[in-house]
């Protein structure tokens, strides 16, 4: 349902994303791999509106997204994480979830003063949801702890929790397992699979091939800003073009 056509993003003379087109179609979890600096994160920034693409169009289930501000794209159902975990360190773990819950009437001044009971009712329901999510992620013993005190892996897990409460349609994950210990990676994988079963669609940047092979039925491969392969991971690993990209014998056409 997420579709990109001819997305191009340049920084000065460097073409970080070069005429990339793809559609996520019905694949529940799609992987995005490629060597360092191949433009994966930049593509995510373009998809989520954080970077305005120089060229190209975006749409979600037919709704055009091209040129929309990040909060508008997010409101249409695309959520994302960042390559480095970004929790709110001074807020409690539970408040980290509540703060991003969608559609809170208590965010409107009028409701705060003139419909306080509805606001409280919604808040209680959200708290229940947040507690259930923390239990599912096994973060419940840390519910009241400032998120800054969590380990890096736990922070990445908490970011998944934020997606759970936000209930988007499509999730862009930028390296969910990077810097995370194996036990927590398992927990993160379990959460992604569970969310996928609930109908969320994932697009995941990863360098960890074991994570990719466990999750993704389909991968896209980028090199030097270009999309060079689409298909299964097994096929990708046999593709001459992909092997060249990883071994560094590919031509670096991005540097003009």
């Amino acid at each position: 349902m997420l579709e990109a056509r001819n997305i191009t993003k340049t920084f000065g003379g460097l073409t970080a994303v070069d005429d990339v087109s793809f559609a996520l179609a019905d694949t529940p979890i799609t992987g995005l791999i490629g060597p360092n600096g191949s433009g994966k994160s930049t593509l995510f920034h373009c998809l989520s509106g954080f970077y305005g693409a120089d060229r190209g169009e975006l749409s979600l289930a037919g709704t055009p997204l091209t040129g929309l501000a990040p909060h508008k794209i997010s409101a249409l159902g695309i959520a994302r994480t960042f390559q480095f975990a970004r929790v709110l360190p001074f807020m409690s773990v539970r408040d980290n979830l509540l703060a991003v819950a969608p559609g809170q009437s208590g965010e409107r001044l009028r409701s705060v003063f003139f419909a306080p009971r509805a606001v409280r009712r919604q808040e209680r329901a959200l708290q229940g949801q947040a507690d259930a999510i923390l239990e599912f992620l096994r973060l419940d013993p840390l519910s009241g702890t400032p998120a800054g005190h969590l380990s890096y892996g736990q922070q990445k897990l908490l970011e998944i929790g934020r997606l759970l409460i936000a209930r988007p349609k499509v999730v862009l994950l930028d390296e969910p397992s990077a810097g995370v210990n194996p036990a927590l990676i398992k927990q993160i994988l379990k959460s992604i699979k569970e969310l996928s079963r609930q109908g969320l669609q994932f697009f995941i940047i990863e360098h960890n091939m074991s994570v990719i092979s466990q999750l993704c039925s389909r991968v896209l491969v980028m090199d030097a800003g270009r999309l060079i392969f689409e298909g299964s991971l097994a096929q990708a690993q046999k593709s001459q073009r992909v092997i060249e990209a990883y071994l560094g014998t590919g031509t670096h056409a991005a540097y003009s």
């Binding site: 909060h71 959520a79 970004r86 709110l88 001074f90 703060a99 809170q104 409107r108």
Partner: protein, 290 residues
């Protein structure tokens, strides 16, 4: 006795003023160094209207509305700027408002200011009664502080903190960052306008000199001392700062040493700040323990 009442009234007014700035600086992370502008706008609006014959209640209400509108208007250019630039521009805005008051004599009396601003007599006592003014000011302040506290505790305040901590995350979760900041500035300006109006009716005389960067610094001290980002912090901070400031005014100094009062205030506040930065940089009430 009058002297205690005076301190109490000043403290109550500054509690509202400090809490108003806290919504921006403490909760939203908007480093507005020109909050005194909204205080001035509230003071002048209520003073001009009430000396022109309007009822005091109506004048104060108008002052709040005018200050809120000013907050909304100025938020448009200010919110185009980020971080340091926002702070500098807000400082410039406050100077502009002060210069406007200095030069538009037909409305503000220019450097002579506005004298004979009436005091409310809503409780049937003489206008000179400080008890009466304290009760009125405290009631209005309690309303304003309660309103700000409710907002801060509500999801609205939580979203402002989300924006303060990480704008990108806020945007990634569908929050219109500018719209939230605009609302925070508008509410904050309204509360500062109320504080300014109370101040004008209490002192019965205002002039552009009351609204210099000096006042902004005093206000920042209240916030930093009490603990920004909390609900009780600005209230505690404003109370302490006003008690210290006004108490120093009544030091048993020989009359010829009277000119030393202002420098002594400066030294004491400077020392308080230094001590605070060393011992408790988060202020007396730290945010995470809330």
């Amino acid at each position: 006795m009058d002297y205690l009442l005076h301190i109490a009234i000043m403290a109550v007014i500054f509690m509202v003023f400090a809490a108003s700035l806290n919504l921006q600086l403490g909760v939203s992370g908007l480093y507005n160094f020109g909050q005194v502008a909204f205080f001035a706008i509230g003071a002048y609006a209520s003073a001009i209207l009430s000396t022109g014959g309007a009822p005091i209640g109506l004048s104060m209400l108008a002052a709040i509305v005018v200050a809120a509108l000013a907050g909304l208007l100025i938020s448009v250019p200010l919110l185009r700027m980020r971080g340091d630039y926002f702070g500098i521009a807000s400082l410039a805005f406050a100077e502009m408002i002060r210069l406007l008051a200095l030069n538009e004599r037909w409305a503000t009396g220019g450097p002579m200011g506005i004298p004979a601003i009436p005091r409310p007599e809503w409780l049937g006592m003489a206008p000179t009664s400080l008890v009466q003014f304290l009760v009125i000011a405290a009631a209005l302040a309690a309303l304003a502080l309660a309103g700000l506290g409710v907002l801060q505790r509500a999801p609205f305040g939580r979203t402002l903190k989300l924006i303060r901590e990480d704008e990108n995350v806020a945007m990634a979760f569908a929050r219109d960052v500018k719209a939230f900041k605009r609302r925070a500035m508008c509410v904050s300006a309204a509360a500062a306008g109320l504080a300014g109006a109370l101040w004008a009716h209490y002192l019965t005389y205002i002039s552009p000199n009351d609204f210099t960067v000096q006042t902004t610094i005093l206000l920042l001290l209240c916030l930093v001392l009490g603990g920004k980002g909390t609900i009780a912090g600005p209230i505690l901070g404003a109370g302490l700062v006003m008690v210290i400031q006004e108490a120093l005014r009544f030091l048993p100094l020989a009359p010829e040493l009277g000119r030393l009062v202002a420098p002594i205030q400066g030294i004491v506040f400077g020392a308080v700040l230094v001590l605070l930065m060393i011992r408790r940089p988060q202020g007396l009430i730290g945010e995470m323990r809330e």
